[in-house]
Amino acid sequence: MKTYYNPDDLAKFGDISEFQEPLAKKFFSYYGDVFAEGALSQREKSLIALAVAHAIQCPYCIDAYTTDSLEKGSNEEQMMEAVHVAAAIRGGASLVHAVQMMNKANEISM
């Protein structure tokens, strides 16, 4: 069955360099540096990536950072809390706009 997303494509991510090598090279080098141990640990960065993956709803990233979070020593409870952070920000981002709705409603109401 043909679908827009194919799990096998994740492993082919590096192939993007076939069409444009210099930019891909820069991107992957930058990507590697971003996820290296720094002021944040690799485990913390992986949990952030997992949360962002859910916010942007990328199935490749969800697969990749679920595995990576486990491989960095996180547990399921911590991973679920990370996703709730994404959900809270997304939900909050909608709700905070309700103030704008209220402002407008008040502006045009008697």
């Binding site: 491989e71 960095k72 020593g73 547990n75 399921e76 409870e77």
Partner: protein, 346 residues
């Protein structure tokens, strides 16, 4: 596995699957060819420093990932005669460490006798204690005191610092019982600074993924075990699950086998390959047969070449010159930072 009628009770079936299971597996490079690329072929020992003795496959637990396929129904057990043959080798010198494993090594009726005999002749005795054995029967309750008396290095599996993940792999109630045993070990001084009594824990992934970096996970374990249970320990060893025995069955049944093998192969690290544990460890089976490691023992791959195949014929020179028998499961020792009975190697 035999009792359940599993096809993998036959070790040749395991080796067949490791080499020829569908195209994706057949396409993977042979471990031997990777060693050739790394200039490590044939793989030879650097010394024979550690004698790892499997004193029997009987265990009070039946963990899902167990590479020994151990359990209460296993009857293979090392006799005092074979232990005496090991003692002859130990007394001959050149062995710094005796590493006792099983099953649950403490269930061998001659376990304590052997420790008493061996301890004057080596620098260190390691006991791979599954923790719950200490609470399994009143006759084992004084193991912490016995270990302390002989300054045993206790090395114990705790696949995670919470109940959910530990019990999923090792069985219901194992986590609580393990914590109780760890507290009993702490009580006699194990894991406490300055006591000289070393207690190390072993992490292995609860599933089809690779272990976390050892140092950072050790910090998490130390913080959480202290905070939640007031448990202390010395070092954490992270170990990769080997694709053999019950874990191999799990990989296949869960549909993770091919991806796991590809991951192991893609994570091959030449530095880890140079430091694999079979280069300084010799493994003795419950019946005295010699193997390059406990994993080869479970696959019935005896030491090769002109080396003697039984501990009673131990010959240091011939064994040091032997070529180590490798196969596709060896990728489990060389992925990432590597994996051994003492955790990361590179």
């Amino acid at each position: 596995m035999e009792r359940r009628g599993s096809e993998f009770a036959d070790t040749t079936a395991q080796l067949r699957v490791l080499n020829n299971h569908r195209d994706r597996i057949t396409a993977l490079p042979k471990f031997a060819s990777k060693l050739k690329e790394s200039g490590l072929w044939p793989l030879r020992p650097t010394s024979i420093d550690i004698l790892q003795m499997n004193v029997g496959y009987m265990c009070n637990q039946t963990c899902k990932h167990c590479h020994v396929d151990a359990g209460p129904d296993r009857t293979e057990i090392m006799t005092r005669e074979t232990m005496n043959q090991c003692l002859d080798v130990i007394r001959g010198g050149g062995i710094s460490t005796v590493d006792l494993t099983g099953g649950a090594p403490e269930m061998n009726p001659d376990f304590r006798w052997f420790v008493e005999q061996a301890s004057p002749h080596v620098d260190r005795i390691i006991v791979r204690c599954n923790l719950t054995i200490i609470n399994a029967n009143p006759k084992y309750n004084d193991l912490p005191q016995f270990f302390a008396r002989h300054k045993i290095n206790v090395v114990s599996s705790l696949p995670y610092y919470n109940k959910r993940n530990t019990d999923r792999q090792r069985g219901d109630g194992v986590f609580d019982s393990s914590i109780k045993a760890l507290l009993a070990l702490n009580e006699v001084g194990y894991g406490k600074e300055g006591s000289g009594l070393e207690l190390d824990l072993v992490y292995n992934p609860v599933g089809a993924f690779l272990p976390a970096p050892q140092k950072s996970l050790e910090a998490d374990y130390k913080r959480e075990l202290k905070r939640l249970f007031n448990v202390e320990f010395n070092s954490l060893f992270t170990i990769t699950n080997m694709p053999i025995a019950r874990y191999l069955e799990y990989l296949i049944a869960s549909g993770n086998y091919e991806a796991y093998m590809e991951k192991l192969v893609n994570s091959y690290n030449p530095a880890a390959a140079a430091a694999v544990m079979c280069r300084n460890t010799l493994s003795v089976g419950w019946d005295g047969v010699l193997y390059d490691c406990d994993f080869n023992q479970m696959l019935e791959l005896e030491v090769g070449g002109a080396a003697p195949s039984h501990i009673r014929d131990f010959d240091r020179a011939a064994l040091t010159e032997r070529a180590i028998i490798v196969n596709q499961h060896c990728y489990g020792c060389t992925a990432g930072a590597g994996s051994s009975c003492g955790g990361e190697v590179a």
